[in-house]
């Protein structure tokens, strides 16, 4: 039962206000400036050219041939990584849920990638794992008599997804393990008596039980993956072509390669819109699990 203490709502509001105020500032000030920049001509390399340009920056950003690809890639990246991490995270969490010797050691190994810096993650995979000649993966392929896969060139987006999944699956796993610990033993026993097989238990008991955990994972991953940048920047530079360019990278490209702040700001506005669309659907779909 929740209830307010005697008196008015002043104190709760007061307590809430620092967080709200700072976040509001954090959001509004850059947002305001971004909005402003998006309406003027502003290129760092040519600061002498100024002036209001209306929608020109937006038009320029959207007509960029890479734009559609970037939006699509952003969503594909998001969707696949979330799917992979959740699916494998679930499988692994189920696998190591029951006690066995060295369980906590296994858990330590499993979660380690989560603590690795994204840049290091990207460098590690690019140079030591995915390089088609020296990379460990290439050697494994060769060992099995296969033609080594040319990861970053032939499967750029997938490679990035792989790296991100490697990084985020431990997180998903961690949450799922936690969730599994609270699985009601009596429910499982009841299903034993009801004659459920392992798969049926997974389908009818574990999965619904973990709905909330899955929601949490999806929520957090979406927040981070929507603006993935370091991994792409470090490995594929968005290429080849625009195959692995996402919105964040495209904006980066405008802002820090082309130094076109106006168009980058317009891009940022699109990113915000996209984020809000995703957030809207996310809350629709998974929000009810978050009560």
């Amino acid at each position: 039962m929740q209830s307010s203490s005697a008196g008015n709502r002043f104190v709760p509001r007061l307590l809430l206000s620092p967080a709200v105020a700072t976040l509001l500032l954090w959001m509004l000030v850059p947002l305001g400036m971004t909005l402003y920049f998006s309406a003027i001509r502003y290129n760092l390399m040519s600061p002498e050219l100024t002036g209001f340009v209306g929608w020109a920056n937006y038009e320029f950003f959207v007509t960029n041939p890479a734009f559609t690809d970037a939006v699509l890639n952003t969503l594909v990246l998001l969707g696949s990584t979330v799917f992979i991490t959740v699916a494998f995270g679930l499988a692994i969490a189920m696998l190591i849920n029951d006690p066995f010797p060295g369980q906590s050691f296994v858990r330590i190994l499993l979660i380690s990638p989560f603590f690795v810096m994204p840049t290091v993650n990207a460098l590690l995979w690019k140079h030591m794992m995915m390089n088609p000649i020296y990379g460990v993966l290439a050697q494994v392929w060769t060992f099995f008599g296969l033609e080594p896969v040319n990861w970053l060139q032939d499967l750029p987006l997938f490679s990035v997804i792989l790296m991100l999944s490697w990084q985020w699956m431990p997180f998903a796993c961690l949450i799922f393990i936690t969730s599994l610990q609270s699985m009601d033993r009596e429910q499982l026993e009841a299903s034993d008596l009801d004659g459920a097989t392992y798969l049926q238990k997974f389908r009818y008991l574990y999965l619904p039980h973990m709905a909330r955990a899955i929601t949490v994972v999806i929520m957090i991953e979406v927040i981070f993956l929507l603006s993935v940048f370091a991994e792409i920047f470090t490995t594929t530079n968005g290429g080849p072509g625009t195959q692995s360019t996402n919105l964040a990278y495209l904006i980066y490209n405008e802002a820090l390669v082309n130094f076109d702040v106006g168009s980058a700001s317009a891009g940022a506005m699109f990113a915000i819109i996209l984020a809000n669309i995703v957030a809207f659907f996310l809350i629709r779909i998974v929000g009810k699990n978050l009560d």
């Binding site: 307590l15 967080a19 590690l124 020296y134 964040a248």
Partner: protein
């Protein structure tokens, strides 16, 4: 409050070994080693010479060399970067907890119709790509004289992590029966005393894991660090950047510096994983 159901004791005896158990154990180790392999390989590489590092097939047995580590230490002052990492991540964690805790308290124990919306709004502020806000923030920092300043990083990290922190704390607080807080009120506790003596100790697990997560995220933050710092405030993320892709062979040196950069937080993460698991329940993920 429902009655607390008494947990059955878990089976304590030895493991019962049968086919399924063996398969499960072997599979678990297999998956874990696979996941850990890249890190292991990187550590291995950091003890190779540059030429050994690019050998095909990869060398597994070799005479380890420390030259990469000495080179790193010689070339850059690891400890000053590490110190900045510690200061910024710890600083932002503490500051973040200080702001997020009252907010989460207010939302958890005095919910209004807007609470969920505010929460979602907070989370949505995190979805905008940081690059989009770089130039504005850069200009702001410049105007305020906060370029290359650890305080700027602390503030930015704090704001960056605040939504997640509020959310995690909120869900953790919701787990605390409001009766306990009411009891303290009946005992004559002021708001501060209620906070200090009852809520905080009770929420320790949640606070710890929230703090931990925030620490990890801040430690690994690279974008703002690279763009807002130069000579004085750089963290380990910028140290790594100074070793990536120079002209010439650099794999083993990069490995060494990467190992150095992630070691503190990974080891810290290992030690605190229990805490993290306990607190990450996000309002009892159950």
């Amino acid at each position: 409050m429902s009655t607390t159901t008494v947990k059955k004791p878990v089976r304590t005896g030895k493991y019962t070994w049968n086919g399924a158990m063996i398969t499960r154990t072997v599979a678990s180790y297999g998956v874990a080693l696979l996941m850990f392999f890249p890190i292991f390989f990187m550590i291995l590489t950091s003890f190779k010479t540059e030429l050994q590092a690019i050998a095909v097939p990869s060398l597994w047995i070799f005479e380890p060399t420390l030259e990469n580590y000495t080179e790193v230490q010689e070339r850059s002052d690891y400890f000053s970067f590490a110190w900045n990492s510690v200061v910024t991540s710890v600083g932002s964690t503490i500051l973040g907890l200080m702001i997020a805790t009252p907010a989460a308290y207010s939302m958890a124990f005095n919910p209004t119709k807007q609470t969920k919306n505010i929460l979602m709004w907070m989370l949505s502020t995190k979805m905008m790509p940081a690059v989009g806000a770089l130039i504005p923030i850069y200009l702001l920092c410049q105007k305020l004289g906060l370029l290359d300043n650890v305080f700027a990083l602390i503030i930015i990290f704090t704001l960056m992590n605040l939504p997640i922190m509020v959310w995690m704390l909120y869900t953790n607080f919701k787990e605390i029966p409001s009766e306990i807080l009411e009891a303290s009120r009946m005992d004559g506790a002021t708001l501060w005393e209620e906070f200090r003596y009852v809520l905080l100790p009770l929420a320790m697990g949640g606070l710890a894991s929230t703090g931990l997560l925030c620490l990890v995220l801040s430690w690994n933050e690279a974008f703002w660090v690279l763009n807002l710092t130069s000579a004085n405030a750089g963290t380990l993320a910028s140290l790594v950047a100074s070793y990536s892709s120079p002209e010439g062979l650099f794999w083993s040196k990069l490995s060494a510096v990467s190992v150095l950069a992630i070691a503190p937080i990974v080891i810290f993460g290992w030690f605190s994983q229990k805490q993290l698991v306990q607190g990450l329940t996000f309002g009892a993920v159950k």
